[in-house]
Amino acid sequence: MSKPKLKDYEHLLRVALVFAIGAIVFVLVRAVLVPRSFGEYGHYRGNAIAEIAAKTPVFAGHQVCETCHTDVATMKNAGKHVTVNCEACHGALANHADDPVTIQPPKLDTAILCVHCHEVNGARPADFPQIVAEEHSAGLPCETCHQPHSPLPVIGAGGKP
C-alpha cells in the first residue's frame, strides 16, 4: 500500500512549523545570550557603567589629605602654592589615606621635583616664576631657602623657618 499523498496546504504547514520552531529557538537563545541590562540606557550594556565606576581611586584627593594634615593645608593655602594639590607633588597616596600608619609616602627630592614646573621654558606663561636651576641655586636643594608648602618669602640660607 502506497503512502497517502500530502495535500498542498500540508506542505505549507510543515514549512511554517520549521519557521515557528526556529523563531522560538532564536528568541530563547537571544534571551540567554544578550545581557539583561543591554539597552537599559542605549545600544550598550547598562551594567558596564557601574563596572567602570567600581574601580578604586589611586589618588586620594586633597580633601582627604586635609582632614589629617590641617597644619600643612593652612600654610599652603595662605601661600603661593594655594592651587597646588597635595598629590601634585607627593604622588598618588590613596593607599596611605587608607592605612596612614604602615604606608608612608616616600621622601621627595626637591632638586628633581621643583624644576618640573619652575625650570625656565619659553612656552611657559611669562608671569609664571621660572629659574635656570644651575645658575639659581649652585646645586643646593630648593628647600635650603624655600619652604615648599609656602615658597615665599625666602628663608635664611641653610636655616629652617
Binding site: 542605549g42 550598550y44 557603567i49 557601574a50 589618588f59 618640573h116 611657559r124
Partner: protein, 243 residues
C-alpha cells in the same frame, strides 16, 4: 541522589530566581550617584598651563595606561609670526617627562593639554559595530572592555586622536574622565595633579559649578568645531593654529 516530583517543583522557582540574578549582573556601584543629574565636561585654561606633565603622569598612575600610550598628553606649539596657521608642534613622550627648554625663536609658544573631548555626538560611538563604546546619560564616553572586539573603527573615527588599542587586552582604550572618581565625588586624576588649575572638571548640569561663572566672562572654544561633534573639552585662550 533521587529527587521526587514534589522536591523538583520546590527547586524550580529557586533555580529561576538564581538564574535571574545571574542575568541581571552586577548592581549599581555608587548608589548615591544619579546618572541624570550630571553632564560632565572639562575646562582647559591654556594661559595657565606650564607643561609640567603632571597630568600625563597622574593619568598613567591612576588608570594603568601602558608605557608609550596616552589617555591625555600635552603638546607644545610654536607659532611663527609670519606663518600663523602652520605651527611647529612637539610632544616628547606625550609631555610625560616635561619639555626640553626652547631657545627664543620668536613668535608665540604655548602648551595645549589634550584628551578625549567626551563629545555629545561622538563619531567613535557611532561607528562601533558591537555597542562596546557609548556615551553615558551623564555625558561621558566609555568603552565596555568585555564587548570590544578590537576592530579599531573607533580609533580611526576619533577626529582628536584620543583612542588607542591596548597592547595587552587588544581592546580600544581612552580617557574615562576618571569615571570611577567623579561618581564618588572626586575630581579626575589629571585635575587633582594639575598644579596651576589649568584643568578643571566641569559639571554643566550643576548650577553651582564654577564653570558657569567662568563662561560668563570668558570666550571658550572647542577643537574642530566644524566637525559638530558636540565636544565638551572647553579651551580658554585657544590659539587659532591649534588642530
Amino acid at each position: 541522589m533521587k529527587i521526587t516530583r514534589r522536591q523538583l517543583l520546590i527547586l524550580l522557582p529557586a533555580a529561576a530566581v538564581a538564574w535571574e540574578s545571574v542575568l541581571a549582573g552586577t548592581p549599581e556601584a555608587s548608589p548615591n550617584y544619579a546618572l541624570t543629574e550630571h553632564w560632565w565636561g572639562m575646562l582647559v585654561d591654556i594661559s595657565k598651563c606650564i607643561g609640567c606633565g603632571n597630568c600625563v603622569r597622574a593619568c598613567a598612575t591612576e588608570n594603568d595606561v601602558p608605557e608609550g600610550y596616552f589617555r591625555t598628553w600635552v603638546e607644545r606649539y610654536h607659532v611663527n609670526d609670519t606663518d600663523l596657521f602652520d605651527p611647529v608642534v612637539d610632544s616628547p613622550n606625550g609631555g610625560k617627562d616635561g619639555f626640553p627648554p626652547i631657545l627664543d625663536r620668536g613668535g608665540r609658544n604655548f602648551f595645549v593639554p589634550k584628551m578625549c573631548n567626551h563629545c555629545a555626538d561622538s563619531p567613535c560611538t557611532q561607528v562601533c559595530p558591537v555597542g562596546a563604546t557609548f556615551i553615558t546619560p551623564d555625558g561621558v564616553v566609555l568603552v565596555d572592555k568585555t564587548y570590544c572586539v578590537g576592530c579599531r573603527y573607533c580609533i580611526q573615527a576619533c577626529p582628536y586622536g584620543c583612542r588607542f588599542l591596548n597592547p595587552k587586552t587588544h581592546t580600544a582604550e581612552k580617557c574615562t574622565l576618571c569615571y570611577h572618581r567623579i561618581t564618588k565625588g572626586l575630581t579626575t586624576a589629571c585635575c587633582e595633579a594639575c598644579p596651576t588649575g589649568a584643568r578643571q572638571l566641569a559639571d554643566l548640569k550643576n548650577p553651582n559649578d564654577p564653570i558657569h561663572a567662568f563662561l560668563k566672562t570668558h570666550t571658550v572654544q572647542v577643537l574642530k568645531p566644524y566637525m559638530a561633534t558636540g565636544a565638551k573639552l572647553f579651551y580658554n585662550d585657544l590659539d587659532g593654529s591649534v588642530r
